[in-house]
């Protein structure tokens, strides 16, 4: 035990010396796991241009981002949804858009569904694809877990309440939704359009359904014609440090649009 304490002390000392050598200002960004890969890439480019800063990106969920910013643990938070009524104490900066599209199995013959049909499927009033002119196959409704922003955008668009939805599978992340639908010929779900497009390009057995006659594609999200989308946000407290200000200016500038597109999100035109 003593030896252990000694070792730990040694570690502290070493760590201390090390920190003194690199007197870079540290910027901590925490929050949504959906946005974290993007911000990590933006941070790397930022560091290469501003050697005086070190940006640490941590994931763990939108709630964590909000809580950390409020407690002052993080300088900037990542939140994959819009502000709630009790979150006006924070500053919200729109970072990018993410379209949400309905997906079904590739072998399903259904080519399009209207909003009323989707609402009927999700509330359990239509339980078989045959009713809609598709194959004789029971429908498996794939819904998102409570609290996920994708779920909230979906509910709002179709004017549904989560307690009226009758799901057979509930999922967390987009990839889980894609794999679930690809593995079940009767399944229907909704995921981020960018993720779905990548999966389809890789040969995953799913297809995206158009909405109101508009094809579900990143292009149509970009030109604003696709109706279902969410906005990804960065947040800060009321007061900003100089470093956070510089980073925000960078992250919200066109200089990172290629990185946003590389993550299959849609940059905002300002």
């Amino acid at each position: 035990m003593l030896r252990l304490i000694f070792c730990l002390n040694l570690v502290w000392l070493l760590a201390g010396c090390d920190a003194a050598d690199h007197a870079r200002e540290k910027l901590v960004i925490t929050g949504s796991s959906t946005i974290a890969p993007l911000i990590a890439d933006i941070a790397r480019r930022f560091e290469s241009q501003h050697a005086e800063y070190q940006v640490d990106v941590q994931s763990g969920g939108s709630s964590r981002g909000i809580a950390d910013v409020r407690r002052g643990v993080a300088h900037i938070g990542m939140v994959s949804r819009g502000p709630d009524s009790d979150e006006q104490d924070l500053q919200w900066y729109a970072l990018a858009r993410d379209g949400i599209g309905m997906i079904i199995h590739q072998q399903n013959t259904i080519a399009a569904l209207n909003a009323a049909q989707i609402a009927d499927i999700f509330t359990g009033r239509i339980m078989d694809w045959q009713t809609l002119g598709g194959p004789a196959q029971k429908i498996t409704v794939v819904n998102k877990a409570e609290g996920r922003s994708t779920l909230e955008v979906f509910l709002k668009f179709f004017a549904l309440k989560n307690s009226t939805i009758k799901p057979q599978v509930i999922i967390g992340e987009n990839q889980q939704g894609i794999k679930t639908v690809a593995g079940n010929i009767g399944a229907i779900g909704y995921v981020s359009i960018g993720s779905a497009e990548v999966a389809i390009a890789e040969g995953t057995a799913i297809k995206l359904l158009p909405m109101n006659g508009v094809a579900a594609s990143v292009d149509n999200v970009r030109n604003g014609s696709f109706p279902i989308a969410r906005t990804l946000h960065l947040i800060t407290g009321a007061k900003l440090t100089a470093a956070a200000r510089i980073f925000l200016d960078f992250a919200l500038s066109p200089a990172v649009h290629d990185l946003i597109e590389a993550q299959y999100f849609v940059p905002l035109q300002r």
């Binding site: 252990l4 760590a15 090390d18 920190a19 640490d56 941590q58 994931s59 763990g60 993550q263 299959y264």
Partner: protein
């Protein structure tokens, strides 16, 4: 003390029920092997294509879809190192206490054992949130390799201790009595007899612990963090292989291929560490028996 397999002692396998149990156990092994091979080969075939030397030596690019995993490997080994530095001495000492010193106070031992078994069932995400509030916030270590390693240590300890305790307890009581009759101190009985004799079981505990530590994701997202930079000290945040795999599989569209390759690397590292641990423990056993 060469181990004598009972099939050298008992040669007969005449009765029907003898053959039955042989078949059943062989069938179980076959079933388990097939299922496991399915999983392992799945990883192998999907991950092997991406495995190049440069994958191991370069930093990730484009959220991990391109580039390598060098900083991730370094962070993984550092976190594992911190975890084992705490776990091995503390775990061994606790195992010794439970197996050797608790006769006079069985109630306390039962309490410790029970708390260990319960600890084994705490979900890793709870460990993560606990570690984040105790090590990162309370002790001020922040998101760091140190916080992550210490959190992992809390998780892994029950497995190491219980396996270690069982193997220490299985050392025949005669050994202790004999050594005591010869006037050995408890310390020399422990280091000279008990630990070497119990070593095969202790090494299983170690291997279970290393496996559990390398496989952990949720506890580390909240403690050692997500940063992809090459760590410069133990107070830097660093991403482990399993966190990286999780991120590639769940949050990075098109990251699956590199996710599988990273899983393959994780398996390779595990094989190397386990082999190392086995050689080390065998050497200890060997030295004593000469």
């Amino acid at each position: 003390m060469p181990r004598q397999y009972p099939h050298e002692v008992i040669k007969h396998m005449h009765t029907f029920r003898d053959r039955l149990i042989a078949w059943i156990s062989a069938a179980s092994v076959l079933l388990i092997t097939l299922l496991f091979l399915w999983l392992v080969l799945d990883i192998f075939f999907k991950g092997f294509a991406g495995l190049h030397w440069s994958f191991l030596t370069s930093a990730p690019l484009n959220a991990g879809r391109a580039g390598g995993i060098a900083p991730v490997i370094v962070s993984t080994l550092l976190i594992l190192g911190v975890c084992m530095l705490v776990c091995v001495p503390a775990g061994l000492a606790t195992a010794i206490h439970l197996s050797e010193y608790t006769v006079r106070n069985p109630a306390a031992a039962r309490l410790i054992r029970r708390s260990l078994d319960t600890l084994a069932g705490v979900p890793s995400i709870v460990f993560g949130l606990f570690g984040a509030s105790v090590f990162c916030d309370l002790l001020g270590l922040g998101y760091s390799i140190l916080s992550g390693g210490l959190t992992l240590a809390c998780m892994v300890l029950p497995f190491m201790i219980r396996a270690g305790e069982e193997s220490l307890r299985s050392v025949p009581q005669e050994y202790r009595l004999g050594a005591s009759a010869l006037g050995f101190s408890q310390y020399s009985v422990l280091t000279g007899i008990l630990i070497p004799v119990a070593m095969p079981g202790l090494s299983i505990g170690l291997i279970l612990g290393i496996g559990r530590a390398l496989a952990e994701t949720a506890a580390l997202i909240f403690t050692s963090g997500y940063v992809l930079r090459m760590p410069e000290s133990l107070l830097d945040s660093g991403r482990t292989l399993s966190v990286h795999i999780y991120d590639l599989a769940m949050n990075v569209s098109g990251g699956e291929a590199n996710g599988y390759t990273s899983a393959l690397v994780l398996i390779a590292i595990l094989v190397m560490i386990n082999t190392g641990a086995r050689i080390l423990t065998q050497r200890i056993v060997h030295e004593v028996h000469i």
